[in-house]
Symmetry: D2
Subunit: 144 residues, 4 copies
Amino acid sequence: MPRISIEEIEELCEQALPWVALLGFEVEEIGEGACRVRLPPRAEFLRPGGTVSGPALMSLADYGMYVAVLSAIGRVEMAVTTNLTCNFLRRPKPGAVIAHCRLIKLGRRLAYGEVSLYSEGDEDAGPVAHVTATYSIPPERGES
Amino acid sequence: MPRISIEEIEELCEQALPWVALLGFEVEEIGEGACRVRLPPRAEFLRPGGTVSGPALMSLADYGMYVAVLSAIGRVEMAVTTNLTCNFLRRPKPGAVIAHCRLIKLGRRLAYGEVSLYSEGDEDAGPVAHVTATYSIPPERGES
Amino acid sequence: MPRISIEEIEELCEQALPWVALLGFEVEEIGEGACRVRLPPRAEFLRPGGTVSGPALMSLADYGMYVAVLSAIGRVEMAVTTNLTCNFLRRPKPGAVIAHCRLIKLGRRLAYGEVSLYSEGDEDAGPVAHVTATYSIPPERGES
Amino acid sequence: MPRISIEEIEELCEQALPWVALLGFEVEEIGEGACRVRLPPRAEFLRPGGTVSGPALMSLADYGMYVAVLSAIGRVEMAVTTNLTCNFLRRPKPGAVIAHCRLIKLGRRLAYGEVSLYSEGDEDAGPVAHVTATYSIPPERGES
């Protein structure tokens, strides 16, 4: 069971994550320590070659990891990325991008996970990028 | 001597990099295989804790590397990131961010470099993030 | 079907990979684009805290990726690592380590994959380390 | 002023770091938060192509970071790597390798730094590999 709902995530984004609101990321599904998020197709995300820009992909992956962490520990807004490594594997199509996120380790102070990103509707071609990331969990999360 | 000017970079951004235009990145200085770029202070880049969001920092670093690569090989728009690794070191202040970028290796097909990011006006506190990235240079760049 | 057998890998190690012979790595299972390799328990691999040293884990992961690449493309000895990222997640027990390796992408010139490492007999505790790596495949591999 | 001497490092290696003793790493110079370490030329470190194996380079870099951390905080044996990212840039010559290590950030609980590796005597060709690494510093280091 996820410890935060899609509605709560959306509310949090509106209130406190203007970056996510700016880019229009969507949460499609949420589990416990896992989620699927989506980058909508937008002209602003394209780059030379008619493909989705790398930073848009990394931003989506970072957001997906944040959602996956909160799905495991509840609404701890102050969780922050300490490391993010992105490998770009294929040229994405100029459309929506789907990110599948899952935690590999959830510790008391650190969460580590991976994200596989796909061009929507072209999942069979394999991931367009693969990300690993570490989040730091603040000690003061208490009994939240 | 850089093989591309700040004016040419800005023109390229307007024509072909809507992402950069959206975020308002600026090139402050350009050398050969090196540059300094800037993230302006904007409410959209903030996140809980009153600090600059990680993806905004990574986007700036990726842009800086792109400019550094073009400063070394000329206007090769199709250069693309293949790997980007970001380590977040300190909480940035809620203001502008400066990125110092330099190539460590420029090969025929790959460029590799590093980016140190600082809160503007607080450089003495040390970098807020450190990035390494690899760019793939398309073979067809010819004699440009 | 793997394009190289465990016996061929072992022969290659004896002839050309003295590093692997020195450390005593073993191939336990080989698939197509996947394998399981093992670090035997040895006093030389321990470090303060009675745990397995990080470089021994990274060496095992790098070897596992090499075997996974050869399992997919055949005996192409000159495949070389271009990037390896290791995240250490838990303190390994002072014994054998098992690495599960799989390719995420196999291109013409690059292979990318991930490796999950476990303390042997303690797999349920979760991975002790997680590695992603890129291998460069030499162009001259011909029709092999 | 370094907080540990070359002699103390060598003593520590003999007593507690059999891996380093096995590989014969040497400390050439030590500063505060910086050092230069050396991989001696040995047949065991070579791999197909007459070059130094990647894991030998990563092991050297990890050792150099350990020495750099101890040079800044004193003999805290239990400092452990949490992330190491290695980018291989050039084929090393089949000889000794020199690693220049420096801390970029030294926090209370984490140290982060970079290592540039060169073929000895061929430094002008540029680094053969570039590593970034994070070390975790145990809280109980007390007044050591």
